[in-house]
């Protein structure tokens, strides 16, 4: 069982290192690509007619409805 433990230790630390190095490489790659191609995060609805669909909108409409009907 001690040998099992040693195996798990070696394998475990190995996997942890390898896995985190893989993450490191992937992140570096992604950051490089982002820098190189000037990619941006810029969520924008693709709509033939521009209509916002986020929740702010929902709230806006509902507030409008509320505002309207409070009389």
């Amino acid at each position: 069982m001690f040998v099992d433990g040693l195996n798990i230790m070696v394998l475990g630390m190995g996997i942890v290192f390898v896995f985190l190095i893989v993450i490191y490489l992937s992140m570096t790659l992604s950051s490089t690509l982002i820098q190189k191609f000037h990619l941006k995060y810029n969520p924008e609805p693709l709509h033939v007619i521009k209509v916002n669909t986020g929740e702010k909108d929902l709230v806006a409409v509902i507030s409008a409805a509320v505002a309207y009907s409070k009389n």
């Binding site: 040998v3 040693l6 195996n7 798990i8 230790m9 070696v10 394998l11 996997i15 969520p43 924008e44 609805p45 693709l46 709509h47 033939v48 007619i49 521009k50 209509v51 916002n52 669909t53 986020g54 929740e55 909108d57 929902l58 409409v61 509902i62 409008a64 409805a65 509320v66 309207y68 009907s69 009389n71």
Partner: protein
Amino acid sequence: MNYKKITVALFLTLVCSSLLVAQEVSIGKGFVELYEGSGLRGFMNVGGWKNLVMIGIGFLLLYLGIEKEFEPLILVPMAFGAILSNIPFAGFMEAQGILRYIYDIGVKTGVFPLLIFMGIGAMTDFGPLIANPKTLLLGAAAQFGIFFALLGALLLPAIPAIGFNGFDLASAGSIGIIGGADGPTSIFVASRLKPDLLGPIAVAAYSYMALVPIIQPPIMRFFTSKEERMIKMETLRPVKKLEKVLFPLILLALCGLFLPSATPLIGMIAFGNLLKECGVVDRLSKAAQNELMNIVTIFLGLGVGSKLAAENFLNFNTIGILILGLLAFMVGTTAGILFGKIMCKLTGGKVNPLIGAAGVSAVPMAARVVNKVGQMENRSNFLLMHAMGPNVAGVIGSAVAAGVLLALIG
């Protein structure tokens, strides 16, 4: 300081020697075990590529939800649920998996969609509908898409050559309800009639709801003339508080009397709305709108996403569902507009037929689309409030249609 270096050296020696010892024994076996349980290996198993495709679809849905803001509140959790449940050996849908618990507790039972309905009730102002109750008819007409798609699903011939067996009545009903343009209603009906199709049906329902600004305007312009689209409607009369308080009660009473199979949906929306309108339980109304709504939305999304399993999604059923769902949407929109034209005629031009398109529900997007299309002809034409009437009527209409389907098919 020497003793420090010694400690460090000792420590490193320990590590290295253990590495040497361990390397003699079955590290290889452990490594093989890990490899055998990896996603990489899983994707190469028989049918594993399907999971990979589904994960791809999950990422696509994420992209649509985040970058294009297609109903992100439900699409982001749903997409994540789809990705997680398709990772081989991750066990999210197995006996102790968290997505399995979520699905079993809240989606399969229909509890989550009903709680969402309670939240919608607590968020919805039925004032515009009460001010102009005739718009209920538009909310009725636009449900035609539901039954049209149902019929369409039954008409599709089975083509055994490509593995498509046609749709039975329960499937057809679940597909049709996509045309109700109401996510929770679709999920609720599918969970009762045909849980196997729940995944693609939910995806279709929410996708088309998100695509309302793309799908509806061409239809709206096709079936209406410029003059019709320019019609200005009279300002809505003010609505009294008592009318608003009584509305959910009337709704509930009629539903209980005539269509009990629709009461789970109608009853919960009426309950939520009463919490909101009665004004003496604001704590509860806010909880239904916010805390509970948000928590349930996360879980509903994850749970529905977990039904995007490869075997249930990657087949010709799904293609049929997507096409029929789109048809249902388009036909529903058309029916709403045509009925709007009839009302326009009957009222001597007081009703702008565009608002009929909002009858499909998809609250509040469809009403906003109506407003925008109207303003494209006449910048000073504000149809939003007028479209909110058929819009919320559409929610009731599709819940009623759902009740009919559950009663006749379920």
